[in-house]
């Protein structure tokens, strides 16, 4: 009898404890959850809501118009150009900066002396203010006095109107984008490299992998799999978000040649004050980002983790 009583009371206390822990868990995560809701989820829902209206900045009257903002987007030439340019920009910037970042990381990792210097030198673009750096690039890429074109002339190449010819402007912006993203990629790759078990390299050496290329293929590349995937995803997302350089250097021109998604959304919302259709563009943008993230976490992740 007494024993049964003790058992139930023990069960009750443990139940109480579980409930208390649950309560504590909610309490501890509440501030973060609140921030996430206020700063991320609520604005996203609001944007989605606005995209279904004909809201205009400054006008107090707006109506629910269903998906007609989205169907308008399908026929919007500027938006199509914008998507096409953004895609080209991402495809220029992401592979190049991932490859350069990996190459630099390997180079730095192999030379002990210069490690410290290079680490900060190539990380500089990541921490420096893009808008400030953009004006430096404007000078570097200047058609007549810019050092890049002067060097081109020195070796007999024609000068290029990096930022003001519609043929080259996206490439010019991509160069700046690569310069920004490479340091970031490099730092992540450096971290990935230090996490590789040195015994694997020793095993590879003993197994007869003599050339650096053999060791790279047998150990480095496969072991960097998760890092490479992460770097690629983040670099692509960052490239998708290109805006500051366009805003300060080209304003989408000339002739929409550097019209990119965020710039188009910005103009639609804040120049033409069309909040409704700008929101629809933003939703498309968010969907593209989500697809990339899901692709990384769900599909590719399984291929690069080996346990």
């Amino acid at each position: 009898m007494a024993e049964a009583g003790a058992a139930t009371s023990r069960a009750r206390t443990s139940e109480v404890r579980v409930r208390q822990e649950e309560y504590a868990g909610w309490r501890l995560s509440a501030p973060v959850m609140l921030l996430v809701i206020v700063l991320l989820i609520a604005p996203t829902i609001a944007v989605f809501g606005l995209s279904l209206t004909d809201a205009e900045l400054g006008s107090s009257e707006w109506h629910f118009i269903g998906v007609s903002n989205y169907s308008d987007l399908a026929g919007d030439r500027t938006f199509r150009i914008s998507i096409w340019n953004t895609a080209r920009f991402v495809l220029l910037v992401a592979p190049a900066s991932v490859a350069l970042g990996l190459g630099l990381a390997l180079l730095i990792e192999s030379s002990v002396e210069l490690k410290g210097f290079f680490r900060s030198a190539f990380f500089l673009p990541v921490v420096s203010l893009t808008v400030a750096m953009a004006s430096v690039w404007q000078y570097l890429m200047h058609p007549t006095i810019g050092p890049i074109n002067q060097m081109f002339r020195l070796v007999g190449l024609p000068a290029i109107n990096w930022l003001s010819s519609s043929d080259w402007v996206l490439t010019g912006l991509a160069v700046i984008g690569i310069w920004q993203a490479t340091g970031f990629a490099m730092v992540l790759f450096l971290a990935g490299l230090t996490a590789i078990d040195p015994q694997l390299y020793q095993a590879a050496e003993i197994d007869g992998a003599k050339s650096p290329l053999d060791r790279f293929r047998l150990v480095t590349w496969p072991m960097l799999g998760p890092t490479t995937l992460f770097v690629t995803t983040v670099t692509m997302i960052n490239a998708l978000k290109v805006f500051e350089t366009v805003y300060t250097l080209t304003e989408g021109g000339p002739a929409k040649a550097s019209e990119v998604l965020l710039w188009t959304i910005f103009k639609q919302g804040f120049t033409y004050l069309q909040i409704g259709s700008a929101s629809a563009m933003a939703v498309v943008f968010i969907v593209v980002l989500l697809v990339l993230v899901v692709l990384q976490t769900r599909v590719l992740d399984r291929r690069v983790h080996y346990s």
Binding site: L200, A203, A204, G208, R217, L218, S307
Partner: protein, 395 residues
Amino acid sequence: MSAPPQISFRSVAKRYGATLALKSVSLDIAQGEFLALVGPSGCGKSTLLRILAGLESLDDGRISIAGQDVTARRAADRDVAMVFQSYALYPHLTARQNMAVPLVMRRMNAWQRLPFVGPMMPGRRAVDAKIADKVGSVADSLKIAALLDRKPGQMSGGQRQRVALGRAIVREPKAFLMDEPLSNLDAALRVHTRSEIVDLHRRLGATTVYVTHDQEEALSMADRVAVMKEGRLLQVATPRAIYDDPDHIEVAEFIGSPKINLAAADVGSDGVARLGPTVIADGLGDFHGSVLRVGFRPEHGRIGPQERPGDGEVAVSFSLTRLEFLGAGAIAHGTLATGESVELRVGHDFVPPADSRVFQLVLPIRQLMLFAPSGDRLRTGTSLAAPHAAEAMHG
């Protein structure tokens, strides 16, 4: 010892900053020999092995393998195989691919190894078939054929260990180097794998250097045991000689479980060493006034209330403090009249009488080992170890 050694270290020294990891190590290992390198943690076993493999540079000395000086040769060109403590398998490759790596690297040229186009290169198909054959037969002999398509992450520690062994074996290298390959396995599997490695060595007859900090592993597996301490080789001998006839007190203490018992013995002005009142050695005039140490193994004494020393035996009084029953036998913990605590192996039937905890411990004098204050074994001027030393020489 007339055949040239398969592996030879000549005055090998290695320094890490201020620490001398190896201090002039010289050692010859015969073709087909199984040598265990044993010693306390940090004594330099791994360093010596890694220097032999070519994974670590040396500061002084020379190394040769199969009669060739390999001191300046990189690891990949020394043709040795290594089994790492943590196995160091390639996690993205299956067991089959892991085992094939050393053959792919050595038997295929750079073109044949290229991704995508490699399989189309001339001769690749023939090499592939040979490698698959070899991997298959090694896997059969290690009983891991069923695991070949798993990746290391999907295998148990013991299975990974076998794959690592397989990767070493496929290549038929000049020597196998193993750095504590069993230390990540549980006790039962360790004992089992131990005998498998010995069998394997017998079958392949390959020279093996086996690093362990487990003296039992060293004694049970090796043809010869090298005991290291602080970067130096203390003794290299057969397991039997290491156990029965150690050269140094550190060797005697490191090898054997329970540990060897040590008691103090004074040397009188007559050059005679005594354990209590009993003379155990003479002719030690050089050590007059110093205290020597007498060692005896736990299994070498008899205790009992009625024990009396016979011819060539010495008796000391021993008071029992605790009897530790182990099943097949027991270990009697106690102290000698001279104060040292000792452990003795006693039989299963030993039951101490209820009224008395003090016994006579009778030790055969020829099984006592005498050590100088420096720790060196004293064999001169005694009648103690002479017969043993002689046996070891002929053995």
